[in-house]
Amino acid sequence: MRILEGEGVTKYFGGLAAISNVGFHVDQGEIVGLIGPNGAGKTTLFNLISAALVPNSGVIRFKGEKISALKPHQVCRAGVARTFQSVKIFGNIPVLGNVLLGSLFGTSTGMSSADAAREAMELLEFVGLSTMRATPAKDLTLANQKRLEVARALATMPELLLIDELIAGLNPTETALAMELVTRIRERGITILMIEHVMKAIMSICDRVIVLHHGEKIAEGTPQQIVNSKTVVEVYLGEQAYAGN
């Protein structure tokens, strides 16, 4: 079943098409990777899905319902949560409070404060931050801030999680932990669409990969198909890469 689909999605910044006529879909239970060189429009596409931006044309549907005219909080309550490329945690609010906000405001039905607190604690346990629950979020390491962002997003009880560069800037140990976290999120029954530059991560955990370049979708397929695709290699390495063959 298609949980998310976009048709002819287009977004201009001034005269520049940041996303032009992109069609895509994500099936329930999948982990889909979204890759492309810098400036390809990956984060813009995330902003369009999460309603931070409104597309100039095209529609985005979540579980068959159009979400491209909603407000960010409505998209969140509908079941699409996200993290940010540059972490956006609430620095002066304690770790637990950050997650609590998600469970108090982001769920579709709303929760009693006792349930929300229990849920938030469970999620801190899940991402491995339960011992730091009283620490102001700004005092965490980058890796932990990213985990906190994931926990906050999960607290809104999403069916689809958009992860924007979870691994960028992490050391090898932290990277392994982050990748493990992504697979454990999938085991909770949550569909994942993730932007990532680290190809090793994409190759090992994604079921399918979508490649953007200059705002257009240039390839789509299994990780194997993508690394063997001539167009993708050209985009990343330039046509010269083939000169020697």
Binding site: A52, H73, K88, R152
Partner: protein, 316 residues
């Protein structure tokens, strides 16, 4: 264990708050007329400051519209005062400010930082000048006389507004909406994507804060007896709450209250004792406070206490 410590601290705070309220409730019975009027003025400053802090404290949106909401209350009182009983007049004053803030909030809360501050300040001047134009050209007067109410009544009305405001502020701060307001101040975009309806929350809290400023204006107008647009919409009432809150320190709930009490008292003393140097001394104290007390008075107290504790722990 940590949790019980926090709740007993809260209990202590609420307990001492009720004790202070209780003592103040009987103040006109034993206080002199001068002191009753002085305390009323202090109450008014606390109301303006705390109502400003409800919204601007956690969100970081520096509103300079306090004078507009206060002035709307004052004018409501001047216009309706003779036609309705006092409680109704106060309610109308509060309601008028509430509605104005809803409208202004819905229009302008998409502005951020300095743009929001400038707009809210412009609002004060806009209403002031519009009103002046109206009074001069339509009613052919400049000011209005306000019906007179005795000092004790003014005291009690202001006191009730103050108590209602402090309870409101306290419960907003402790509720999930307090947390959401703080998250807006930290990162509004992330807040929206976490499910907080930022536009509605900001607008409603902005309007609630205006409600109290309007009510305070409606009652204090009866004490001033004569008002005109320059008196009612004096920009000083936009800056005072900000200064008092910074002076007291916004880190703690009681910071702005303490700031307002000291500020208002100091102002009174300086005006009566040193009328010629009042503004000079007042300004100097402010400059020093802002330069050397970034956390306000409350921040200073905390720093001293932490320093003391650290020294105690250092001793074997």
């Amino acid at each position: 264990m940590n949790r019980t410590a926090i709740s007993s601290k809260n209990l202590l705070f609420l307990g001492s708050l009720f004790l202070v309220f209780f003592l103040l409730a009987f103040f006109p019975l034993y206080g002199s007329v001068y002191n009753v009027i002085l305390v009323t003025a202090i109450f008014m400053h606390i109301v303006l400051t705390v109502s400003w802090v409800i919204f601007s404290g956690p969100t970081g949106y520096i509103s300079l519209a306090s004078a507009a909401f206060f002035g709307v209350g004052i004018y409501t009182s001047a216009i309706l005062g003779k036609a309705f009983p006092l409680p109704i007049v106060i309610c109308f004053g509060a309601l008028a400010s509430f509605c104005l803030a809803l409208l202004v909030g819905a229009l302008t809360l998409r502005l951020r930082g300095i743009y929001f501050s400038m707009f809210t300040f412009g609002l004060v001047l806009l209403i002031q000048q519009l009103l002046l134009w109206y009074e001069v050209n339509i009613t052919h007067t400049r000011g209005r006389f306000v019906f007179v109410v005795n000092n004790t009544t003014i005291y009690y009305v202001m006191f009730i507004i103050l108590v209602a405001l402090i309870l409101t502020a306290y419960f907003i701060r402790r509720s999930k909406y307090g947390l959401a307001l703080q998250s807006i101040g930290e990162d509004e975009e992330a807040s929206a994507h976490t499910g907080v309806n930022v536009t509605v929350l900001k607008t409603i809290i902005f309007a609630v804060s205006a409600l109290f400023a309007g009510a305070a204006g409606a009652i204090i107008a009866t004490r001033w007896t004569y008002i005109d647009p320059y008196i009612a919409f004096n920009p000083l009432f936009s800056f005072m709450p900000v200064l008092m809150a910074i002076f007291g320190g916004m880190g703690q709930f009681y910071g702005p209250i303490i700031g307002a009490v000291i500020f208002a008292y100091l102002q009174e003393i300086l005006i009566t004792r040193f009328p010629y140097y009042y503004m000079l001394i007042f300004g100097s104290i402010l400059v020093v406070a802002i330069l050397y007390l970034p956390g306000g008075l409350v921040g200073l107290v905390q720093k001293l206490r932490e320093g003391g504790l650290a020294r105690q722990h250092a001793d074997p």
